[in-house]
């Protein structure tokens, strides 16, 4: 285990060190201490390493992650794992707004709650939230899966494209063009896998969720739908 003291050694040195690692490194386990809410911690990683941040972080923790597993033993600020390409990001606490924004791959697990716009414009990422999510989550979400064990706020999935949303609790309201859809066997199978990978299979069963997706009525502009825009 390599330990990096962020307060003493600084952000640039941390990211530079982690960027210098590749698939052949034997320094695969890292611990970052004293994060003190710093922004851009462990961004742009591209190696199969395991980074544990011991404390809470600011904006964009693990942004654009590839391959790496980043665990945060605390809460995260806005934009955790934004535009993630692959790998895994696990947050023990809560996440601020834009969690997993535009993510293109990998898995984001939030064991607490996520604030507004969770999964905004997501493009292939899988997001599992053990708690609740805030308003306008999955706005313009293009692809990937969102699993919420708790409740969802207003306007879930507004202007949704092809992302699949699974919510166990209540949904305050659905956004434009987002509808409840039938839960078919393949969705239950998918959900079971997501719950397992999201460390939530002991907390919920696939049958307890409802599925939401796009009605696909706004895919091509039609003046008759003007009130929905």
């Amino acid at each position: 285990m390599q330990t990096f003291d962020l307060a003493a050694q600084g952000l640039r040195a941390l990211n530079q060190t982690l960027h210098g690692l590749n698939g052949t490194t034997n320094q695969t386990a890292w611990e970052v201490v004293n994060p003190k809410g710093s922004h851009a911690i462990a961004v742009g990683l591209d190696a199969p390493i395991d980074v544990t941040v011991k404390g809470s972080t600011g904006y964009y923790c693990a942004g654009m992650n590839k391959q790496a597993t980043v665990r945060v033993k605390g809460s995260v600020g806005p934009g955790v794992a934004e535009n993630m390409m692959s790998g895994t990001v696990i947050v023990d606490g809560d996440a601020s707004q834009y969690a997993g924004a535009t993510g293109r791959g990998g898995l984001l697990v939030i064991k607490g709650n996520a604030a507004s716009r969770c999964g905004i414009s997501m493009k292939g990422i899988d997001i599992v939230v053990h708690g609740n999510i805030g308003h306008m989550s999955c706005f313009m979400a293009q692809s990937g899966n969102l699993v919420v064990l708790g409740d969802a706020g207003d306007a879930l999935g507004d202007s949704l494209y092809e992302a699949r949303l699974f919510v166990r609790g209540s949904v305050k309201s659905l956004g434009a063009d987002c509808i409840e859809k039938e839960m078919r066997p393949e969705h239950l199978e998918l959900l079971a896998d997501l719950l397992k990978r999201g460390e939530a299979d002991h907390l919920a069963k696939p049958e307890e969720f409802k599925r939401y997706g796009s009605a696909r009525k706004l895919y091509n502009f039609n003046v008759d739908n003007a009130s929905a825009y």
């Binding site: 952000l11 640039r12 990211n15 530079q16 960027h19 922004h39 851009a40 961004v43 742009g44 591209d46 600011g58 904006y59 964009y60 942004g63 654009m64 590839k66 806005p78 934009g79 934004e82 535009n83 390409m85 834009y98 924004a101 535009t102 293109r104 716009r117 905004i120 414009s121 493009k123 292939g124 706005f139 313009m140 293009q142 692809s143 202007s159 494209y161 092809e162 895919y219 091509n220 502009f221 003046v223």
Partner: protein, 442 residues
């Protein structure tokens, strides 16, 4: 019975034929007009400025003999690897999707041969443009279509797009007819559907967030790449100041003549300011912060000639960007294609339905039969020639003003033909010392 003369038919200025035709079109279709390009209004522009040239008090440089340098450094504030261009005319961001792959290749070829940069657009980075662009600026847009850290790292600079001149405050829409398999794959969306580009970024709002976003991008790219911030011509003084505060290396300022691939005509013609009105405000913001020439300013929107380049630089810009003019150089709206434009219900010079994907020049289309018509090697050569001519023209004017570098042009070299342009540009009305809006003078 006496035949008295009649009052001749009189058309209304307010309800002109154009206005009435648009009312009838709206009534028939129920949808606003969408088109490409920038404002078609008659706006105060660089045409309304003149250079004074040398005289007894200033001596000129010898054309073709005495040196007038044209190079420019961009990104010298924070980037470890600032960009050095041979000429201060860059190619503005235009997306693959809006443009064909061969058109993007031609832009890369022409710009590289002329010693300048090209810019990606709202569709990600293609191999055509990366492969053929010696210096490539990668746009970081609200949609984040195709965004990935590998392309960030293989770019030469990164442009965070906040707005564009054709539609400050607006997003975009690439209509389904241009969404080919390749475009759909690059954007992670189904083929054939309208692809909306958001009007603001998904993971930041406001200047304080922007500062952190720029920090993140710098950390991912090892602080090597210049970070540009592109703004539409809305509130250039404050937007420039806030971009500087957020940590930009370069501010890109786009006036309302700047083009778009597809936006509502009502937006293009009624939102934003002409570039002439924007430049002095941006320059003043930089000067007030002590950052003029330290944070470079690139301006765009209606740049057509070397005279426009020289005037923009005299007002304080470090470089300019061209989009529409570059497309014209490639062959867009060429009268040689008039018969085909007629079939589309338009005429050469007026064709702006780029979003329909039927461009007979093969530039703004994803139809293989159409884009095969376009030769990227020939197109690149034409663009190189045009960029060279613009540079020679700007040098000619600069030498006449006694400048041995285009950057040495200054507002004092200019006068204005109209009160409006004098007020906007902050230079005296020709024959007077009067700058409207400034104290003193007459």
């Amino acid at each position: 019975m006496t035949d008295f003369p009649h009052t001749p038919p009189k058309q209304s200025w307010t309800f002109s034929n154009d206005v009435n035709a648009e009312i009838r079109r709206a009534a028939a279709t129920g949808i606003y007009d969408i088109r490409g390009g920038g404002s078609k209004r008659h706006l105060p522009h660089f045409d309304d400025l003149l250079f004074l040239g040398a005289s007894i008090s200033r001596y000129p440089l010898e054309g073709y003999r005495e040196k007038c340098a044209t190079d420019v450094w961009l990104g010298t504030r924070f980037a470890k690897k600032p960009i050095h261009l041979d000429i201060p005319v860059t190619i503005a961001g235009m997306s693959f999707g809006a443009l064909s792959g061969p058109a993007k290749e031609a832009l890369g070829r022409g710009a590289s041969e002329a010693g300048t940069s090209t810019t990606t657009g709202d569709g990600g980075m293609t191999e055509e443009e990366r492969g053929h662009s010696k210096t490539l600026v990668y746009q970081y847009l609200p949609s984040r279509y195709g965004m990935n850290p590998d392309d960030l790292r293989r770019a030469d600079a990164i442009e965070v797009v906040v707005g564009q001149g054709a539609k400050p405050g607006g997003g975009g829409m690439l209509l389904g007819q241009k969404i080919s398999d390749r475009v759909a794959m690059m954007r992670n969306l189904p083929k054939g559907i309208d692809q909306r580009s958001a009007c603001r970024h998904p993971d930041w709002t406001g200047p304080d967030d922007l500062e952190i976003k720029i920090l993140e991008i710098r950390e991912i790219t090892e602080w090597e790449k210049p970070i540009y911030v592109k703004i539409g011509g809305a509130r250039p003084y404050y937007d420039t100041a806030l971009a500087v505060k957020a940590g930009a290396d370069v501010v890109v300022l786009d006036g309302m003549q700047g083009g778009t691939a597809a936006t509502q005509d009502v937006f293009i013609e009624n939102v934003g300011m002409p570039i002439l009105a924007c430049i002095p405000q941006a320059v003043k913001a930089l000067q007030d912060l002590g950052m003029h020439r330290k944070v470079q300013l690139i301006v765009s929107g209606g740049i057509r000639t070397g005279a426009d380049v020289a005037k923009a630089m005299a007002l304080g810009a470090d470089a300019v960007a061209i989009g529409t003019a570059a497309l014209v150089a490639l062959g867009d709206n060429d009268p040689a294609l008039e018969a085909e434009y007629q079939k589309l219900g338009t005429t050469a010079g007026a064709y702006d339905d780029w979003h329909e994907g039927k461009d007979p020049a093969g530039i703004t289309t994803q139809d293989p039969d159409l884009f095969k018509r376009f030769d990227p090697i020939l197109g690149g050569r034409r663009l190189k020639n045009y960029l060279k001519v613009m540079t020679l023209e700007a040098q000619t004017i600069a030498r006449a003003c006694g400048k041995n570098h285009l950057h040495n042009l200054e507002p004092e070299d200019l006068c204005a033909l109209t009160i409006e342009s004098a007020a906007m540009a902050g230079v005296p009305l020709a024959g007077t010392s009067w700058i409207p809006g400034r104290n003193g003078g007459f």
